[in-house]
Amino acid sequence: MPRYIVSRLGLAVVMALLATLVIFLIANTVPGDPALAQLGDLAASNPDFLKAFRAKWALDEPLWTRYFIFLKELAHGDLGMSIASQRPVLDDIKNYAPATIELATVGFLLSAVIGVPLGVIAAVRRDSWVDHVARFVSLIGVSSPTFWLAFIMLAIFYGELQIAPGPGRLDPIAFAPPNVTGLFLIDSIFAGDWNTFRDALAHLVLPSIVLAAATLGLITRTTRASVLECMHQDYVRVARAKGLSERKIVMRHILPNALIPVVTLGGLAYANLLTGAVMTETIFSWPGLGRYTFRSAAALDFPAIMGITLVVAVTYLIINLLIDISYALLDPRVIR
């Protein structure tokens, strides 16, 4: 097992570095000019200004020199400065990550807590009304454009019914809890500040439902298909022949076997939420990585884009590793 993990980690590091190289090459072989994107028309029309700007950000060095500068700084734990925010990229990412982690985790838990039981019931009671409801919910979830669903939720629950708070992580007049983890739910518990906790939780409801919608469909679908697959295995027949209760057969014999594909898909979906909640964060003015990604991409802020790429690649690789390890826990045969 340890050797397995080490070799996987080695490959992961190589892949992450290759990923930054890919983004670096894409970013530098396409026509967009970061100097023009940043400076605006007036400043960009002044050649001296342009030259100084390019020199400052090493934009006039050859391609490979710039990539090696990036790697050298990376080795020192430095992701460089963001051109747009004029701050170290690492600080920016540290600043925005907690909001995204909080939202993605709540959204993912929501979809898993509803999706797995729904999928199991749909499979066990195949063709019943539960099955049809589950199918309908998952198809709608998968087919709704996130950005539109977010708008509809805001329009109904914030605009019309006024039972949900508006965009953002807290009320505009509220103060953030003292920073420990950056996760408002946890920090406010540490501070014993229940008003802030309630406020943060209320602000999480709508965006996490929106995030959960698509993932819910995916998880329900996979769980149902996988449980149906397992229901016809010999060991289930044996369990039934032994006279076990239907409940025990499902919980102890079918579910552990059926969960393997669900864990894979669920893990990837979680990685996707952690790194790709661009739409939801934009609409709910959520100060997270998704919005930072979008703004950096729009401004052709290459240092920031490279930093995000690295974070995204590393997140994916770690989650893939965790998925593989959880296989070993769910199915002892994997290690051999």
């Binding site: 990923a19 709704s144 149902r224 697959e229 739409m279």
Partner: protein
Amino acid sequence: MSVTAQAGVIAVDKPKSLWRRNFRRYGLPGIGAAIIVLWVLVAIFAPLLTPYTPELVDVTKRLQPPSQLHWLGTDMLGRDVLTRLIFGARISLFTGIVVVLVAAVFGTLVGGIAAYARGKTEEVVMRITDLVLCFPPIILALAIAAALGIGATNTIIAMLVVWWPKFARLARSMIIVQRSQEYVEAAVVVGYSPARILLRHIIPNSVGPLIVLVTLDVGNAIITFAGLSFLGLGVVPPTPEWGSMVSEGRELIEQWWVATFPGLAILSIVLGFNFMGDGVRDWLDPKSRRW
């Protein structure tokens, strides 16, 4: 054997369940196909379906609620929402289908060549697909589209870069199964060229799952394109496009009709492709126990 006999008995005993099963088999895919055909017709005959033009600005009529003159209301510039919706079907259908088809053809060829060549070629090609697949598609497409500049063509290019690897992966796994089959050995013995064996023998035999993925994926591509447009990277403004229409209406919570209807249009067309894709899967793979 006993299972078939049993199923037959049930079908005879309860004609209702036979009807239900037929609905399961043909009903939803049928509805899906009908939705798609309807949107294709709307896209083709767009100018005949509305008295307005999609770019016609009339500020005196801005933000009117749905009425007899404007069935779905008007937007901030007084343009008829229904008209823009009808014309928007063109670009959504076009981009969705083009992205998936081009990606499918390219990905299948790449995956096919990799699987057939084996050895180093296969290793290198598959590591490249792994590399692309380790990014969330929307972020990579976002970065590329932003770097290339705004415009439908650039957005389609950006999406293609992200889209082909999953087809390469699927094609490779299908072809690995096929390449050890006897008919391939027979073709080699007869002396056919590798290209001919790949294109005429192996790929046609592994096309089923690819068709399923293509059908299910068009909806996905439509949503992604609309999403990029929503973020301001898809089409250049006055062009009517569903994603950018939602974006134009996203601050207008009181004037809900501006953003709601284009979103419903996206939802309906994507549901159509998903219904049909499920049907195609059941049809091509009767063993699958998915919905």
